[in-house]
Symmetry: C2
Amino acid sequence: LKIAVDVMSGDFPPEILIEGAVQAVNAFNVQLIVVGKADLIEKKLKTMKFDSRLIEIENAEEVILMTDDPVTGFKTKKDSSIIKCAQLVKQEKAAGFFSPGNTGATLITSLFINGRLKGISRPAISTFIPTVNGTPQVLLDAGANLECNVNNLLQFAVMGSSLIKKYFGIANPKVGLINIGEESTKGSDILQKTYKALEKLGMDFIGNIESSQTLDGKANVLITDGFTGNILIKSIEGTFKSLIKIATKEIKKSIFYQTGALMMKSALQNINRILSADEYGAAPLLGVNAVCMIGHGHSRQKDIKSGIRVTMQYVEKKVNSAIVETIKEYRLNKIRVPYQFWHMSDFREVPLEY
Amino acid sequence: LKIAVDVMSGDFPPEILIEGAVQAVNAFNVQLIVVGKADLIEKKLKTMKFDSRLIEIENAEEVILMTDDPVTGFKTKKDSSIIKCAQLVKQEKAAGFFSPGNTGATLITSLFINGRLKGISRPAISTFIPTVNGTPQVLLDAGANLECNVNNLLQFAVMGSSLIKKYFGIANPKVGLINIGEESTKGSDILQKTYKALEKLGMDFIGNIESSQTLDGKANVLITDGFTGNILIKSIEGTFKSLIKIATKEIKKSIFYQTGALMMKSALQNINRILSADEYGAAPLLGVNAVCMIGHGHSRQKDIKSGIRVTMQYVEKKVNSAIVETIKEYRLNKIRVPYQFWHMSDFREVPLEY
């Protein structure tokens, strides 16, 4: 089992990401293919201790930047670390890959190089969401598809359930549909039709979930289109951050508050840990024919380490085969719609066999 | 200046709402028409002290419940407190009304009884959003319109700006468009077109605002469709509540934490006050030809009191005339599309002159 890891595309310098990769090797005894500028990687690796049999280097001269347009990046930077990672999986040299880089570029790269899983119309980014009661919960789509039809949303339900089943060992994951009210008549025509279809599908569908209940842990799988999903997760993230800003400002006003905060320090750290989705280090792109993990741009050592761990687990727990089987079981492989991306009308110019 | 207040439709018993109304009378010297079951109101008022010249009672035998379908409620409960309130404004017996009842029913009632402001295609619910830096900020639409076209969104920008201008005295309110990225090419076709139109309109348009920045106070007016707006504000609300739940649970684990929390009590209360949008007590339904304020269902005395205060201020500051003028100024009164509601295809059966 080898995992390819892109150490070039994050916000932090490659050296920091390489440190995370080495930490993963030492902790999990995993075999890695470290992808990026070979001389830079070699130089850094020389300063570190690890079992040298466990790390290979794959040279990639280019880097798709965070600011690059995903389509342009994919089309012009053929020797980039993200593309190399996807190719290593395609060539079966690696069992999965992890990149903390440009999300859109990773998406397009994996979609075009690795292709889609059998029966899947649209891949989706699935993000772990913390819950008050500790229930494992994943939301998809977190931003790959601006608009979704009923079949897309049903496939997301299957992908999310397969993930929860395999990854957390929960036999019947609870599926909820993000909507603006609990009643089946709420929301757009597509949401209403999806509600009815989910009722009939045979999953443990618990109905609509309002965005105010996202962290309650009522469901294991939250289904929504990529626009709404993106608005929702970023709003949760932003609210936490704002709260911390406000609290920090307030606490500074008195030594009394500061002492109080100090006394609560480990409680506050615990709260932060509960609310931090970073524990997983990566969001899987589900629906592509590869284990493709997308990390936060601001990933540091520990995030790279946990991202690699999660990638290993996805490979070992065979999440992708479970998706293919379940799609067949629920007969959701009948409809295939052409893949459309955000404003990527120039997509047709990209040769499908890259 | 008389304000009509619906004391029947909230989650709490009418007596609680009447207490809030009397508090408003005593605090602001405002003239009220208290709308609801006359005998019940009279009985409660007898137990309270206030200048009796300042309160009139308008009898309404029926109540549209929170659980009532808005359209059905509006069509069948003609003697309900919400409908009576809107009629009092229509008949110019009251200058504005406040109801903490069924939002959808209030919306439909005001729309059909009071009509739309000149030039407005679709009314929108505008909600005050707290900000880290204290900047006044309003989001619209918070849930009246499931889908919006470019013109609707531009009109929301005008309505929100007029509100901020008149209510907070800010000469050039900053307008932001809720989207999934900062670039003008992000989001749906409608959002991209709205972006371009806002750039040309002549307002202080500051570009796209990601949902993670909602509380930063970058803008005074946040523009979005009612579905996205509803997802966004409920997610902020839910995140706060979940955080409090988690923190309470953590703090209980040790007497040390509890002491710390006690020391920070007034800081925590201050944080809560900053984050509480309840300060305003009501969300204006902008775009109808009336000052129509919608309160939270769970409004208690103080919320009714502040809701009435906000209603008074809207009347006094002539927010509606400002909207009509600004719509004309920006030439946004050219296009009028037929009004469509959430799943309310049976709307056509409702006579426009109720």
